[in-house]
């Protein structure tokens, strides 16, 4: 079941998610699927990006859940502090 779901998630990443984030020099890797929870890692322009949370929760998670309703949650395992080329950088206001 988990392997099947993993394949479906990977397919979504390849065909919809990565083509979208590539516009900002980013990419997403599937780390694992456990108990219907999808673990992802973000790289390139997404790693450390000030808008990474928006991309993940309002973009990627929403898309995955719409296409695969059995997914309970999408979790980001990225070490964003190690990002060296984030698309947007935060500043205090």
């Amino acid at each position: 079941m988990s392997d099947d779901l993993k394949t479906k998630v990977q397919d979504l990443i390849d065909t919809m998610i990565n083509p979208a984030v590539a516009g900002h020099g980013g990419f997403v890797e599937l780390i694992d699927v456990q108990d219907n929870r999808v673990y992802l890692q973000m790289g390139g322009g997404c790693q450390g990006c000030g808008a990474a949370d928006i991309t993940l929760k309002s973009g990627i998670e929403r898309l995955i859940k719409e296409e695969l309703p059995e997914v309970a949650e999408v979790l980001d395992t990225t070490d964003h502090s190690s990002g060296t080329n984030p698309y947007y950088s935060a500043g205090k206001a």
Partner: protein
């Protein structure tokens, strides 16, 4: 499920904490930024691009969205978004301060005019056109004074001048700053600066929530590092304040009067004040919550975050308690010591190992160009501490900071 619009600039530190709060509350969130998300085409009802500098256009665009799927609240997370959020709220009949009040709070000159009219103690001030001759402009100013842009935040462009030469240098430096590519100001904010009396004293920050025109103080922060210029870099915030109770009460009273004088009535406020023998003086009142990651020092009731309180208020939900936890807490905003490119960060594990330290968050990335004040507006990161006393919090923050080393080349 209630649906709330968050205005999240791509440069804000506040995204993660607000999205976490929305997740905890189970709110359906629509995210709007000033630049398009890579997923906007896939989720047009949840991702939006808005021009925050054009509040009327932003309100019209959101009204169109709300016509399809109604919104129950709107929150602008930082200074860049407060006026647009108020305009959207006004258009949709949602909970917010009036647009005119929030607009006044975004312009340091308008703010001081409102505060002076309301009898709030503030430094003497003057607005000066950037096209004026600074030598002549300096004639009308008493020294020492502080020069500052009308609309920037985080102490950006705030410079003390003790004499005419320093005034002219500061004037030119602010004029150059306003021309930078990373500064987006228009109208009066691009054409004037403010010169005001320098006030000696200690500085504090008051975090509050306005509900129906009543200010509910949430936390009063001491700023133990002296802020005497020439630049005014904020570093350590500690709460609860160690000032005497009667002084704290006076700070709350003056801040409440300032909010009323501006016409602010709903939502978060962040006020900066100087305190000396004459009492508290208001320097700024912003219609937003504390900046950076600093809100992570705050917990309310049984563990509610500041962002949860703000979202609940915007939605008109009940808030069980606005009482901050009793344990002292603090944050250090790690300053940028010099300009250059961040090459490496050392000592984060040693810093995190200091007793009382809860988190060391390095937010600048390796390879990033870092710019110190007064031109810069970012921090290298944030250190958070909790301990039994405010003194112990401060000691932990200083110890942790001393263990960090930043290679900037």
């Amino acid at each position: 499920m209630d649906r709330l619009l968050l205005l999240l600039p791509t440069t804000t530190y506040r995204t993660e904490d607000f999205l976490d709060a929305a997740r905890t509350l189970g709110v359906d969130i629509v995210c709007a930024s000033e630049k398009p998300s890579t997923f906007e085409a896939h989720a047009p009802d949840h991702l939006l691009t808005l021009d925050f500098t054009d509040p009327d256009a932003a309100a019209a665009k959101v009204a169109e969205l709300a016509g399809r799927r109604p919104l129950n609240g709107v929150v602008g997370v930082d200074d860049l978004t407060t006026v647009a959020a108020a305009a959207i709220a006004e258009r949709l009949g949602l909970r917010s301060s009036a647009v005119a009040a929030v607009t006044a709070a975004r312009d340091k000159y308008q703010m001081r005019q409102c505060l002076a009219a309301a009898g709030v103690p503030i430094p003497r001030f003057r607005r000066i056109a950037l096209k004026d001759d600074p030598f002549l402009a300096a004639r009308g100013v008493a020294f020492p004074c502080v020069l500052k842009p009308l609309a920037l935040s985080a102490s950006r462009g705030v410079i003390r001048a003790n004499n005419v030469d320093q005034f002219i240098a500061a004037f030119r430096r602010i004029a150059a700053l306003l021309q930078r590519d990373d500064v987006e100001v228009s109208g009066d904010a691009a054409q004037f600066l403010l010169a005001e009396q320098y006030l000696p004293g200690v500085e504090v920050a008051l975090e509050g929530l306005l509900v129906g025109g009543t200010l509910h103080p949430l936390a009063l922060f001491d700023k133990p590092d002296p802020l005497e210029g020439p630049f005014f870099e904020e570093t350590i915030y500690i709460t609860p304040s160690r000032l005497p109770a009667d002084v704290q009460q006076a700070i709350e009273r003056v801040t409440a009067t300032a909010c009323a004088g501006l016409g602010l009535g709903e939502g978060p406020v962040h006020a900066e004040l100087r305190v000396n023998d004459a009492g508290p003086w208001v320097l700024e009142v912003a219609a937003r919550s504390i900046g950076g990651l600093c809100s992570r020092t705050l917990r309310f009731g049984t563990g509610m975050t500041l962002e949860e309180i703000i979202l609940r208020h915007a939605l008109g939900w009940p808030i069980a308690s606005l009482a901050r936890e009793r344990r002292p807490a603090g944050v250090m905003m790690i300053p940028i010591p010099r300009a250059g490119r961040l090459h490496a960060v050392h000592g984060t594990e040693a810093a995190a190992a200091v007793a009382g330290i809860e988190e060391v968050a390095i937010t600048a990335h390796v390879g990033q160009e870092v710019v110190p004040l007064p031109e810069g507006w970012q921090y290298l990161g944030f250190v958070f501490a909790r301990a039994d006393t405010p003194d112990a919090v401060e000691a932990a923050l200083r110890d942790a900071h001393a263990r960090l080393a930043f290679e900037i080349r």
